[in-house]
């Protein structure tokens, strides 16, 4: 499964993810399931970047105690119709000022790229049935739709304000 950034460009993924059983030793550049992280506690010390896996239904406030230690939050979409992940990203960016990488994983569609980016997602693990090429097509129309939009959106904006959103990860 390829990783893309907010411009739908393929980028290298140095992280490993929990397997189907959700287990794996805690180590640097491993995305730790939130419940595992919670059992260790916010005093966790790891020599290297830490990421967390927020399974579907996890709310932003549950991630909060660990936020200043995290480099990456991976938000799961069990079905693309399940929009809870958008609110998680929005809360982390807007309300809690998280500047790290927010990554979408699971069943998501290229058609959702613009919404994901506006909510503060900076990277996306593309599902096998929708490879990066499809997302690049979507990125074209997304950029067109984002540049204009109804008057009010041009006046007050609504993109999640965070450096991660402006800059492009590589």
């Amino acid at each position: 499964m390829a990783l893309i950034n907010n411009k739908a460009r393929v980028i290298e993924d140095g992280w490993s993810y929990p397997d189907a059983n959700g287990d794996g030793a805690i180590r640097p550049k491993y995305v730790i399931p939130l419940d595992v992280l919670a059992s260790v506690g916010s005093e966790i010390r790891i020599d290297g970047p830490i990421g967390v896996f927020a399974a579907a239904g996890v709310t932003a406030d549950k991630i909060l105690p660990f936020l200043d230690k995290l480099e990456l939050v991976v938000v799961e979409f069990p079905k693309f119709r399940d929009g809870r992940g958008f609110t998680v990203a929005r809360a982390l960016r807007d309300r809690h000022g998280f500047k790290g990488d927010i990554r979408a994983i699971g069943h998501i569609l290229p058609d959702q790229l613009a919404a994901l980016v506006q909510c503060g997602f900076s990277t996306i693990v593309t599902p096998p049935e929708h490879p990066p090429a499809q997302w690049q097509q979507g990125a074209l129309s997304a950029s067109r739709l984002l540049s204009g939009g109804p008057l009010l959106q041009r006046l007050i904006g609504r993109r999640a304000a965070a450096p991660a959103n402006e800059e492009e990860r590589s």
């Binding site: 929009g83 569609l109 739709l145 939009g149 008057l151 959106q153 041009r154």
Partner: protein, 670 residues
């Protein structure tokens, strides 16, 4: 041995098809192959795999063989075979002849504008946004047809663009934001009806219009045509914020305190393509009114907004949440007594954030916000919204005065002329012409400008289909709007149209033109002004045919004098529990259900959608379809017998409860 036939809708044009004996799809029911056992299973497996990008909703249905021809057992399936029972004329057109052939005439938007209509004006960015959306949908359709997107993935995308798959094919629901449109937009709708559909459209209780026969392959073209008239179908379906509705006399009514259209437009723009709230647990409906008379049913919406003024005369809002109809009807809870304008979007966003996070996603029947409010208890729900609201960054989504004024400046103010409030010619016409007088009594509303009045065009002629309008009628109404109402038209949630700004002196001329066009039915607000969903004649969810029952009741009460004698009475009919016909809030509500293959109707009494919103009470066992008009008549007669001087139907209901009406309907049988 019972047999089955295999049916589907063709992906490209939505046409109902059956599997023929040659293993190919046919649009002729009589050519369907009756199968059973292994042959049936193997045929299903074959086509489900082979035709997954050719046919949609492939399934087997039980059928009997009558004189060698397959006849589906289910009424719904027979209707799919025959077409809507209320439009038998349509069945005469062969499938291949349903749609106009290119080259089509240029759309009216090329030449027709309504410069004086008090509608929100788009700029080129707004327009380009709609064109881009149409092109985006064109690519999505292509990806579906090529198989890149499967039906499960494509369905929410088409629904975001208002395209459903219904009983007879696709249905396109076009948004008419807060029910306001210009004459030129009405002409564009007529054009779509004429060239991409089958010559008519249906106005809905969400102040939208539905076309019943578009092809998937034409859908992007239709959206592109609509975009040229500043119209779209964005978010008319799907689990997102739907068309914001308001009072159909907004900005015109004499008693109005705040014109809600400005805030409805702001909410529309805010919710359009909202990145966070486009995949909610379920659909989300917002209504706003600025009048003390609630004509927008705000208390039965997911969010209901009452625009008011404080002691200083500043506008602000009272907010209700968690109201709704459907399976679990509820009157909303007041969650905020006063909200300054600057916080409107922030507060609505807080409500939606709580809902998006906590609303149930495991059961679509329990996914609306009303269930969340009920289960959490209103106090806790309010606490959570306020917490979310307080935690928002101070600068996020603030409606500053300058932003509001920029949006407000986009509304054209129709060039009203100063007129005397005395209108002797009008008074003379009222006195001298009885038919005109009767029409004026039901079909007009006082205007805030002296010498003007708002006129309602009933779309409920006796024998007609509630809310249906032909393309020719749309064109006529557009012309009348240009001539009499600055080119401005409204859609009411009661499925009627309104010319909001008519000079009183010209009202007799307007009325005469409506009489000539067959559009002067003077029954607005009376027993025959029935709200009805499309029912099983069109809808794949319906369990009963609501239109024919509406027609039978209207027929029974057709005499105008009798209707006038009865006075104001809201009769609402839904063809299934989803309550699109708003039966819960009808003074008399009818819910059609299927009972062992027979249509029966449950009767509720005492519902209301206005400022005294209430959910009707079921008065007794369901009534057989044939007995419904008698039952309604018995209820009405009981009212006439029990009412005090000048007491309206709903007030009598409230005073007496259901007992006398129950006795009137069931007395003889109990």
């Amino acid at each position: 041995m019972p047999k089955s036939i295999v049916t589907a809708n063709r992906l490209s044009d939505g046409v109902v098809v059956w599997l023929g004996s040659n293993g190919e799809w046919t649009d002729r029911l009589e050519a369907a192959d009756a199968l059973d056992g292994n042959a049936l299973q193997s045929a299903l497996e074959t086509v489900r795999d082979r035709d997954r990008d050719v046919a949609v909703d492939i399934r087997d249905i039980p059928a009997d063989l009558v004189e060698g021809r397959p006849v589906p057992q289910a009424r719904r399936e027979r209707l799919r075979g025959a077409g809507p029972s209320v439009r038998e004329d349509l069945a005469k057109t062969a499938v291949g002849e349903r749609w106009a052939r290119p080259p089509l005439l240029a759309p009216p938007s090329a030449t027709s504008r309504s410069p004086y209509a008090g509608i929100y004006r788009y700029d080129e960015y707004d327009r380009q946004f709609l064109r881009d959306r149409a092109e985006q949908f064109r690519r999505q359709v292509q990806r579906r047809l090529s198989g890149e997107l499967n039906e499960d993935e494509f369905k929410p995308l088409r629904l975001m663009n208002g395209l459903y798959l219904q009983l007879h094919g696709y249905m396109l629901r076009v948004a008419l934001p807060y029910g306001v449109l210009g004459a030129s937009q009405m002409r564009q709708l007529a054009y779509v009806a004429r060239y991409y559909d089958r010559g008519y459209g249906h106005f809905t209780t969400r102040q939208n219009i539905q076309f019943n026969w578009p092809r998937l392959t034409d859908a992007a073209d239709i959206l592109a045509v609509l975009a040229e008239a500043d119209l779209h179908a964005i978010q008319t379906s799907g689990n997102c914020v739907r068309n914001v509705t308001t009072d159909h006399f907004a900005g015109a009514a004499a008693e109005e305190v705040v014109d809600p259209r400005l805030y409805a437009e702001i909410l529309r723009q805010w919710s359009t393509d909202h990145p966070e709230f486009t995949y909610l647990p379920r659909k989300f409906k917002i209504a706003i009114t600025g009048s003390p008379q609630d004509r927008a049913a705000v208390r039965v919406h997911d969010i209901g907004i009452l625009a008011k003024r404080n002691a200083k005369g500043e506008p602000g809002f009272q907010i209700y949440a968690g109201g709704g109809l459907g399976r679990t009807p509820m009157v909303g809870t007041k969650v905020r007594d006063w909200l300054p304008v600057r916080n409107l979007l922030r507060y609505v966003e807080a409500i939606l954030r709580v809902y998006n996070t906590l609303g149930r996603r495991d059961n679509i029947y329990k996914a609306r916000i009303k269930i969340l409010v009920r289960d959490m208890k209103p106090e806790r729900f309010i606490e959570m919204i306020e917490h979310e609201f307080a935690a928002m960054p101070a600068d996020s989504c603030v409606l500053e005065d300058d932003v509001v004024s920029v949006v407000a400046a986009r509304f054209v103010r129709p060039p009203f002329v100063p007129l005397p409030s005395e209108t002797p010619e009008f008074e003379r016409a009222v006195k001298s012409n009885r038919a005109f007088r009767a029409w004026v009594r039901t079909s007009t509303h006082p205007h805030r400008e002296p010498g003007y009045i708002s006129a309602v065009i009933s779309l409920k002629p006796i024998g007609g289909i509630p809310g249906d309008v032909s393309a020719d009628e749309m064109d006529l109404i557009a012309d009348l709007a240009d001539h009499f109402s600055f080119g401005e038209i409204r859609v009411s949630h009661e499925q009627n149209l309104v010319l909001p700004h008519v000079r009183k002196e010209q009202l007799p001329n307007l009325w005469q033109a409506l009489v000539d066009g067959g559009l002067a039915t003077g029954n607005v607000g009376l027993v025959t002004d029935i709200i009805s969903c499309p029912g099983m004649d069109y809808c794949s969810l319906a369990t009963a045919r609501s239109i024919p029952i509406a027609q039978k009741i209207a027929d029974r009460f057709a005499d105008p004098a009798r209707q006038a004698e009865i006075g104001p009475l809201d009769l609402n009919i839904s063809g299934c529990i989803n309550a699109c016909g708003h039966h819960h809030v009808g003074h008399i509500g009818l819910l059609g259900v299927d009972k062992n293959g027979e249509e029966v109707y449950q009767i509720t009494l005492g519902g209301a959608a206005d400022e005294k919103a209430s959910i009707g009470t079921i008065i007794g066992p369901s009534v057989a379809v044939g007995a419904v008009p008698d039952a309604i008549e018995a209820i009405v007669d009981a009212y006439l017998a029990h009412r005090t001087d000048g007491e309206s139907f709903i007030d009598t209901c409230r005073r007496l409860g259901t007992a006398p009406f129950r006795e009137a309907v069931y007395g003889a049988h109990q």
